[in-house]
């Protein structure tokens, strides 16, 4: 095979301008796809960051629970029930809701995500929260997420300067007694952590015997999957037992499927794919049209249809790879640019690179397949 003239390569590289246009087009399509998928993944990652920060092995929730933005509660007794099972070390509960935070400087209010935790146990894997648990044991004291949007006020700065700060949360006085870092997401422009009793004070309509998320920590060496299936079998249908990853997946699925966000980014990626498809099709189609007599000549000389199809597919693959390389390099640049502008965690992942390379190959061979129809019209009997 290697002794044969690399027809596809020679044809693709002969016309430098056309090649440059093709590479630019494919690279552009790839960048579009990379940026859309990158933003989508970054937003999903930020949405599940609180989930993954939870210090727990298994999670108990209401089966209708979909997102932190609209929680569904269940009876606290269900969580206590799990303590009777082998492998369960300790349990703790989490309350979540959205309240109104008043900016202490300009007095405007804004929705903020409030976590109500038991200050006597570890709820988050966040050192700056766990070190300050004693601070929120006091009634109406709160920890404030310093990566919240600036619209909530310069809380961290004021707190550091004056080491105390008072403002309103749900029209009740609240004392900021510490800061931590979690990050913003679709759900929340900011986060606040309070004790569960403070939480009940902020939301008087909440029933004290209901919780939003039950955290179950297992004994060292206990098999998570095994305990999970045991609990699933034992507990009634009014609660779900999930691993942390499954819990995060529910939140992700909510944003991907139940909101327009997943669609918008998928749509952007599909547009990129179609743009690439059309560009490669144009290139291959005009290649075939321009060389139709030559292809017919090859057929007349005794080259089979299969050979010519092979040449076209090789051309498509060459274009895919030549276009992908500048595409991924430029997309990396776009990621660092976007990351510094939005503070979202956008980075290239191997999975995404492989996925987009696969898409590029599908895109190019797909265009090649459409251009093949033109190739079929190369009839050697017509060239005499």
């Amino acid at each position: 095979m290697f002794r044969k003239t690399p027809l596809a390569w020679l044809q693709v590289t002969r016309e430098k301008t056309r090649l440059a246009v093709a590479i630019a087009g494919i690279a552009f399509a790839d960048i579009l796809i990379f940026v859309q998928l990158g933003f989508r993944d970054a937003l999903f990652d930020s949405a599940i960051k609180p989930h993954l920060s939870l210090h727990t092995d298994l999670v108990l929730i209401n089966p209708q629970f979909e997102t932190f933005a609209a929680v569904k509660s269940f009876k606290r007794d269900r969580l206590y029930q799990t303590q009777g099972f082998a492998g369960v070390e300790s349990v703790t509960s989490l309350h979540i809701d959205i309240g109104r935070w008043r900016n202490p400087t300009n007095r405007t209010t804004r929705g903020i995500l409030i976590f109500g935790i038991d200050p006597g146990s570890i709820t988050f894997n966040l050192p700056d929260v766990n070190q300050n648990l004693h601070q929120i044991q006091m009634f109406n004291h709160a920890l404030f997420d310093q990566s919240s949007r600036p619209e909530y006020g310069d809380i961290a700065l004021i707190f550091k300067k004056e080491s105390t700060l008072e403002t309103e949360l749900n029209k009740r006085n609240i004392q900021v007694s510490g800061v931590f870092t979690l990050g913003t997401s679709f759900t929340a422009d900011g986060n606040v952590i309070v004790s569960d009793s403070t939480f009940m004070n902020l939301f008087p309509e909440r029933k004290p015997d209901e919780i939003d998320v039950g955290l179950i920590n297992l004994k060292p060496g206990a098999d998570i999957k095994q305990v999970q299936s045991m609990l699933k079998a034992a507990l009634p249908d009014d609660v779900k037992v999930l691993t942390l990853a499954e819990f995060a997946e529910i939140e992700k699925a909510y944003w991907a499927n139940a909101t327009p966000i997943g669609f918008i980014f998928a749509f952007g990626a599909i547009i990129g794919f179609i743009v690439g498809l059309i560009i490669v099709y144009q290139i291959l189609y005009s290649d075939v049209s321009d060389h139709l007599a030559e292809y017919a000549t090859l057929k007349a000389m005794g080259y089979s249809d299969g050979y010519l199809v092979g040449v076209l597919i090789q051309e498509a693959l060459l274009l895919a790879i030549l276009g992908f390389m500048p595409g991924i390099i430029l997309a990396n640049g776009m990621y660092s640019l976007a990351q510094s502008a939005t503070l979202l965690p956008i980075a290239m992942t191997t999975d995404r690179a492989v996925f987009v390379l696969g898409l590029t190959i599908v895109m190019c061979t797909g265009s090649g397949a459409i251009a093949l129809r033109k190739l079929q019209s190369a009839d050697p009997a017509d060239i005499f």
Binding site: T5, E294, Y303, P380, F384
Partner: protein
Amino acid sequence: MQTLDSPATEPVISVKNLNHYFGKGSLKKQVLFDINLDINPGEIVIMTGPSGSGKTTLLTMLGGLRSAQDGSLKILGQEIRSASTNKLTKLRKQIGYIFQAHNLMTFLTAKQNVRMSLELHKEMLNQNMDALSIAMLEAVGLGDRANYYPENLSGGQKQRVAIARALVSHPKIVLADEPTAALDKKSGRDVVEVMQRLAQEQGCTILLVTHDNRILDIADRIIYMEDGRLVTNLADQTIPQG
């Protein structure tokens, strides 16, 4: 079934009672009528006649580019009426084609164009195909143009590359359709003389369709086609020499 090693006296092209039609149903039109033609090894045959007389149609059928419908058509001892696509493709490898337009690959150099013809033959793949291609280009007087792209060659040079491509793998039959139509008198003359010389060296058969009276003298035999019928042995009497 005869093999390719048929005796020298066996015609390389044998056409018997060949009819051909274009179109279907009420639009069906007969374009070839009862063609009978034998061409022997080493013969140079020129086919001439007015436009639309069916010359090119016959040529494409002889080259395995169009399948025969009615009658018998044997090329190199093989019946190709109702032959499969695969069989036709194989047959084409044993025939050299020279077209009115040179039909060279514009993205290949002269040498690579000639090479494409060699690569069709498995036994050539372990030989020095570049050297063979250059030798063939030297034989048509273009040894110094081996690495030129077609766009940098004159019309006559391109046609000579096409001849080198057609002859490099030593086909038993060369089919040429108006090879000199796009060339001036001198280039046209050069081209057919190269064809004639190489054909004699390789002992191959040439069937050449032309309107060009200036080149009729290279033929061993001239056949004349009119309205889809062959009229033979008109050579010296009716057609003025160019």
